[in-house]
Assembly symmetry: C2
Homo-oligomer: 230 residues x 2
DNA sequence: CGCGGCTTTGATGTTCATCAAGTAAAGTGG
DNA sequence: CCACTTTACTTGATGAACATCAAAGCCGCG
């Protein structure tokens, strides 16, 4: 068995992104310590308040980041696919998670002990630089998205979310929403009832079609207008 | 003249935070390339869309981070004092600024060419680690704050902002708001008129006193209740 | 089968934005 | 320094946007 096959990380599609700056022997060391986990929809990947012991990244799937309030309500920060990950946010500044991460679709994560990552950051400047870039990008994206949502009214927020989901997450005008109506509400900071009313209105105006969780955007242009001007 | 006095950075009160991991000769090199700038209230420190050429940190003062919309409206991301800085957000992932920074009080910044910082990140692991920690902390804080604001109604948002300003920024129950009413509105995503109405209501309920820009919190407990329960 | 959670619709009242109008404050040019 | 302009601040009235409450249908799961 050649060294090429000793470690599957060499073929990981995320290697370029996360570890392009890592030398062969460092990669091997990481690889032997990594843990791959499979999650089904609804499974918790990260629990708020738990100690951060690993650097976790998403290999495939779709997840939601959220925080739970004392009153039982939840607020969704963002929805993320691979490459926009996410265990990034607090791991270098806190020793416990400030939010939870839950799988929306079947997902696979890969974890590396945090001390390995810290060691690598300190010993490999190019790696440090690339982690900085990624982290900067991830938090920038979340903040920008929150501002985009905040400046819109209900209808505009729903339109924005539908377009975002279609273009960035599903890459198709027809898609199965992995979010419940309630989760959409938690995402955009409105009530479930009003989310539904907005969707119904879009359906009646023939802008979208609704088949339960499956949404089809019929009139992309009008949806974009609503997203822009309310 | 001894080496100790060759470079004032050695005595900079921010040295510990930003450069504790930097060796003496590296510090000297940074120091000779740094630029210190003084800003008056209203002055722009960073202009949205401008190319990022320097790593800028706040030595003293108070600033607002905001983005300008096409329609001329502005949205404030956060208000920051030193240590919670801020030129951090996109500098490692973008080559231009995504937001503007303007001085609210008289402020002093210190700038270091970006290539110096990048070089240092790549050559000094401990420095890289400390920048990662700081960046993580800064973006975490902004996101958390936006969630706190989002979950409240008008009255709660105003109460939250007043308490935040009093406790985190002014460190006193009586303080001079560096923000205009309009800026408060841009900060919490409401209209100027409703910000004023809320302040007036608090004044009439004897929760605060208002002398133009100077606010005095009289009934801290009730303000905290309003912040918590609306 | 029945229970609980999600979804949907309607009715109602609260919260909020918008418009209008007036006052105060602050900057500008002669 | 004063008239002038502009910008910030303030209050009220109105209607639109939104939350809340209530009730009923639906679906999955034990």
């Amino acid at each position: 068995m050649g060294i090429d096959t000793l470690c599957s990380c060499e073929n990981c599609e995320l290697r370029e992104l996360f570890f392009s700056s890592v030398e062969r022997d460092e990669l091997f060391s990481l690889c032997t310590q990594r843990t791959e986990v499979n999650y089904f929809p609804g499974d918790f990947i990260i629990q708020q308040e738990m100690p951060i012991e690993e650097f976790i990244y998403l290999k495939s799937g779709l997840v939601k980041l959220f925080i739970s309030e004392e009153n039982g309500k939840e607020q969704i920060l963002t929805i993320a696919r691979p490459f926009n990950f996410v265990s990034m946010l607090s791991i270098f500044s806190s020793n416990k998670y400030n939010y939870s991460v839950q799988a929306l679709e079947q997902s696979v994560t890969c974890s590396i002990p945090m001390n390995q990552i810290n060691q690598l950051v300190e010993s490999n400047g190019r790696f440090a630089r690339s982690v900085l870039g990624k982290m900067s990008q991830v938090s920038d994206k979340i903040i920008k998205e929150m501002m985009e949502i905040r400046k819109r009214h209900l209808r505009g927020r729903i339109a924005y979310i539908l377009l975002y989901y279609s273009k960035e997450l599903a890459h198709s005008p027809e898609f199965e929403l992995a979010l419940s109506r309630k989760e959409i509400a938690e995402y955009i900071g409105m009530t479930t009832e009003n989310v539904i009313r907005s969707l119904t209105e879009f359906r009646k105006s023939k802008i979208i079609k609704i088949f339960g969780k499956v949404i089809e955007i019929i009139d992309m242009q009008r949806l974009e207008q609503i997203s822009k001007f309310g």
